[in-house]
């Protein structure tokens, strides 16, 4: 399941899947910008039907945080 999530995550940020590790702090990615935030929010809504409020999103730092948030809110 996490593997599938990493694939979707990498796709949303237009990164190679192999360039994404579970403990990465995604805000440190070179391609991180305001559009990347929207891409992740959109990907999560489309695939998991979860809308992440901005204040919750701001507290998530790693790929794993994001995955756990989704698991907790499904």
């Amino acid at each position: 399941m996490i593997d599938n999530f990493i694939a979707l995550f990498a796709d949303a940020l237009e990164k190679e899947k192999s360039a994404v590790a579970i403990n990465d702090e995604f805000r440190n990615y070179e391609e991180w910008d305001s559009l990347a935030v929207l891409s992740l929010i959109a990907m999560i809504k489309q695939n998991y039907n979860i809308t992440i409020p901005r204040k919750d999103f701001d507290e998530l730092n790693t790929v794993s945080d994001l995955f756990e948030y989704i698991q907790a809110h499904r």
């Binding site: 305001s34 559009l35 929207l38 929010i41 959109a42 809504k45 489309q46 992440i52 901005r54």
Partner: protein, 322 residues
């Protein structure tokens, strides 16, 4: 008894701000990426001495080249950047256009939902016999509220003015409306400075500054718009397949494509074109209407769904017959 849109015109300020120009100012920012994902290549920006009212007057002047100005019996002006705190900009517009003095004129303060609300007010006034020919004008210059270093908002918003004649018609060509309001979202798209709540005082020569919480506005849109469209189609006793064309507020390509995919709409029936304008707030829908008519994407008899949504939060939708 009914109302219809008779004519639409728009005006764009002369100065063009291109992605390449922005890229020079912000080397870390990518013009190509913006165009590909957000769908904007350039935007028009009002000059230092050019206001929303000026843009609106230029658009209205185009309409008055073919319309008899003495027939206009009401002016509605939608703007969030009025000429003064008072008087009402619509009064100045009446004088500058040389319209009769025996007419009504008022401003209303709405953003991206404003054009749909303007059509609703015009329809209500015409159908109740209060007037016959409404000049509905929009004018917006968000650029004046955007800080020089705010690349996100500078890349998205453009300035423009539009004018529409809504007139009496035997058959009602403006359909049923659905409205929505949620002031809890106010803080996510706001200009706080130089307002009553802040004692009209500016600190340290600062300008009024637009704040937008992009992710929250995105969340609001994806939660609110799909049910809005379902409701307006049902209220007009139509099916989604009866709609010839969808003109949603042209916020940006990214969000429109997301909404279209979520609602499984036929993308060839959906307007996505803010490439040369950016997000012009209350102007996007009338600009899209005019362009679609001129480019032959829509024609007489077509049913066109209009939906505006944003700052407020405020949203509204209707289905018009051309």
């Amino acid at each position: 008894m009914g109302a219809k849109i008779k004519q639409v015109e728009y005006y764009l300020p002369e100065r063009i701000l291109t992605n390449e120009e922005l890229e020079k100012a912000y080397p870390e920012w990518s013009a190509a990426k913006l165009e590909k994902k957000v769908g904007i290549k350039q935007r028009h920006i009002a000059g230092p001495n050019e206001t929303s009212l000026d843009l609106a007057i230029n658009a209205a002047t185009k309409i008055l080249e073919t319309e008899d100005k003495n027939l206009i019996d009401f002016v509605l002006f939608c703007t969030q950047s009025p000429e003064y705190l008072l008087p009402t900009s619509a009064c100045l517009l009446q004088a500058k256009l040389g319209l009769r003095t025996e007419i009504g004129a008022l401003d209303f303060n709405l953003g991206c939902s404003g054009y749909v609300y303007g059509l609703a007010i015009a329809k209500g006034m015409i159908n109740s016999g209060l007037c016959k020919n409404v000049l509905l004008v929009t004018g917006e210059t968000y650029s004046k509220f955007i800080a020089e270093d705010d690349i996100s908002n500078r890349s998205i918003f453009g300035d423009a003015g539009t004018a529409t004649i809504v007139t009496y018609s035997e058959e009602d060509m403006l359909g049923e409306f659905v409205f929505g309001t949620d002031g809890k979202g106010a803080e996510n798209l706001i200009v706080k400075e130089l307002t009553a709540r802040n004692s009209y005082i500016l600190q340290n020569n600062e300008r009024p500054t637009l704040y937008m919480n992009g992710p929250e506005i995105f969340n609001f849109t994806i939660e609110t718009i799909p049910p809005l469209l379902q409701k307006v189609i049902a209220k007009n006793k139509l099916q989604v397949t009866d709609i010839d064309y969808f003109i949603l507020h042209q916020a940006n390509k990214y969000i429109l494509e997301f909404l279209i995919s979520e609602m499984c709409l036929d993308i060839s029936k959906c307007h996505i074109d803010m490439l040369n304008y950016g997000n012009t707030v209350s102007n996007t829908i009338p600009i899209a209407l005019k362009d679609s008519l001129e480019q032959g994407r829509i024609k007489e008899g077509n049913k066109v769904l209009l939906a505006g949504f944003g700052v407020g939060y405020s949203w509204g939708s209707t289905i018009i017959t051309l």
